[in-house]
């Protein structure tokens, strides 16, 4: 038995859906399908594709290596200021990405808090380099992984770990053989979300790393630059990004669309 719904509600719901769907349909209809291969094989487009893939995967790897331990500490350790730490971790989620880029400059720029020593002592210059792109992407993507994994650790029945301990497993063995496999689905979901966020990163990247073809010009930056010269190329690159987003959605359908888990 379906509950009767107010007509206004249905109407507004349809407007909302159209609002989200029309731009996508517009993009697909205006795509120069005949010239796709040609447009995507220009040196600039290929550089951007390659750079985006490499940097987003590296950023994802960093979020996993650093994010899982942070999630574990937040979920399992009681300490003073935990709420503050969690709040800080979530800031990149709500911070305008451009501001994120500015904060990265303030910390890792050539005159930044840490950056000046990196440059003076080791000659390392992060801004406007490919490494800078990876940092910008990891900065905005990290919270996605941390909240997903922390949530999974909190929901997980702690008695699985208790059981493993009474069976003689060391803390490391408990983590690797019991905790990790049990939260694996969430870890994968968090990593995919982080990767998608890294791939789409624009504001922090252009602010911290600039927009140099072949060095820091990732796909979203290439789309932005292409718009000024060739609308077709911008649309072609956008279609690629839309395709990737769609694939991410499909891979996470159980978790995001409320389907079977």
């Amino acid at each position: 038995m379906r509950t009767p719904a107010p007509r206004l509600l249905i109407a507004l719901a349809m407007v909302a859906f159209a609002f989200l769907a029309l731009p996508l349909i517009g993009l697909l209809l205006s795509a120069p399908w005949g010239q796709m291969t040609e447009l995507l094989s220009t040196p600039a487009a290929r550089d951007a594709l390659r750079l985006s893939l490499v940097t987003s995967l590296m950023a994802t790897a960093i979020t996993i290596v650093l994010g899982v331990p942070l999630a574990w500490v937040l979920a399992r350790r009681e300490f003073r200021g935990r709420a503050l730490v969690r709040g800080l971790v979530l800031i990149p989620l709500v911070l305008p990405p451009v501001v994120g880029g500015v904060t990265l400059l303030a910390a890792f720029g050539r005159r930044g808090l840490v950056g000046q020593y990196l440059y003076d002592w080791f000659g390392i210059q992060l801004p406007f380099s490919t490494a800078g792109v990876v940092m910008a992407e990891a900065f905005v993507a990290l919270p996605f992984l941390v909240i997903t994994v922390e949530g999974a650790l909190r929901v997980m029945d702690i008695r699985f770990e208790d059981a493993a301990r009474t069976l003689g497993a060391s803390p490391t063995r408990v983590l690797l053989r019991v905790t990790a496999p049990l939260i694996a689905p969430s870890l994968v979901a968090g990593a995919v979300l982080a990767w998608a966020r890294a791939l789409g990163e624009f504001g922090a990247t252009i602010t911290f790393a600039g927009n140099f073809p072949g060095v820091t010009q990732t796909l979203p930056l290439a789309v932005y630059s292409a718009l000024e010269v060739s609308r077709e190329e911008a649309i072609a690159l956008s279609v690629v990004l839309l395709g990737i987003s769609f694939a991410v959605l499909v891979s996470l359908r159980g978790r995001l669309l409320g389907g079977r888990g």
């Binding site: 493993a164 301990r165 069976l167 003689g168 803390p171 063995r173 496999p181």
Partner: protein, 347 residues
Amino acid sequence: MSVDARIRTTVGSFEIDVHLTCAPGETVALLGPNGAGKSSVLRTIAGLHGLDQGRIEIAGNVVDDSAAGIHLPAERRRVGFVFQDYVLFPHMTVRQNIGFGPRSTGLDASGVDHWIDALGIADLADRRPSELSGGQAQRVALARALATDPQLLLMDEPLAALDAATRIEVRGRLRHHLAEFRQGTVIVTHDPLDALVLADRVVVVENGRITQDGPTAQVAAEPRTEYLAALLGVTLFRGSAASGTIACVDGGTLIASDTHAAGDVVALVRPQAISLHRERPEGSARNTWHTTVTGIDAHGDQVRVHLAGPPALVAAVTPAAVAELRLAPGEKVWASLKATDVSVHPA
């Protein structure tokens, strides 16, 4: 001692203060209402919950001593723990679950096969926990705990997750499995029947304190607190049943109306169900004995009359009946009990 634990600890604002012992080969039931602190006692012994004050010795090794600042982590205590609803690792097969302990402690894997065979779960070995029934999961959990060759077995409400029918069957089998285990076993339960069937000794915990500690039959017969009296006050017989006749371990027989139970059983009889007579009683009661009064004691507004049997019986009668029947130690008396008043539980 398999375990000698003096525990003072707090859970939230709830205080627990108990002294619990368990000898090798002994099964002790920690019986009490929900929220009495039983599970916390178990978790403290296992090292999963901290001790405020006290000392815990497992098989002669000190694992906790607040005065000496000793606290051995759970993974080094050699304690087998069977959790309520079992907590089998869902991403491992039955065999991997059971093998997890031996692999963690560097024990050889021969124990795995031994316990798989002993618990009759060989045909389940390649299944995942999600493919097991409650009774099967319980056996796997027990095998997993025993495969580490523990010095002490702790079971937290091992039957609570089972439905009523499975529970009776599993309870009976569990007693046999525990008989195979040479170290001590401590079972937490809120169900007196679990305690009576499974345990050699019953320790009653109420409000974080021990209110009674004694051999199972004694606790069953003489509950000292209101909580227990409401549940118990029964005479317990161990024996083996065949088509309704129970041959008691301590001599004598009981006729029960339940003719299905076979093999080892625990039979429970309420003292109020036994009638006493001067002459041989006529009527439908299937159990009659001509026996000797061995003792009489007042119990509130009732009088408990102890009879030699066999089997040894306790009858609860009114003071008026004692006078009328001229009951006194050494007197001969007829006792009768209806078969429907003998409740039989597989053990």
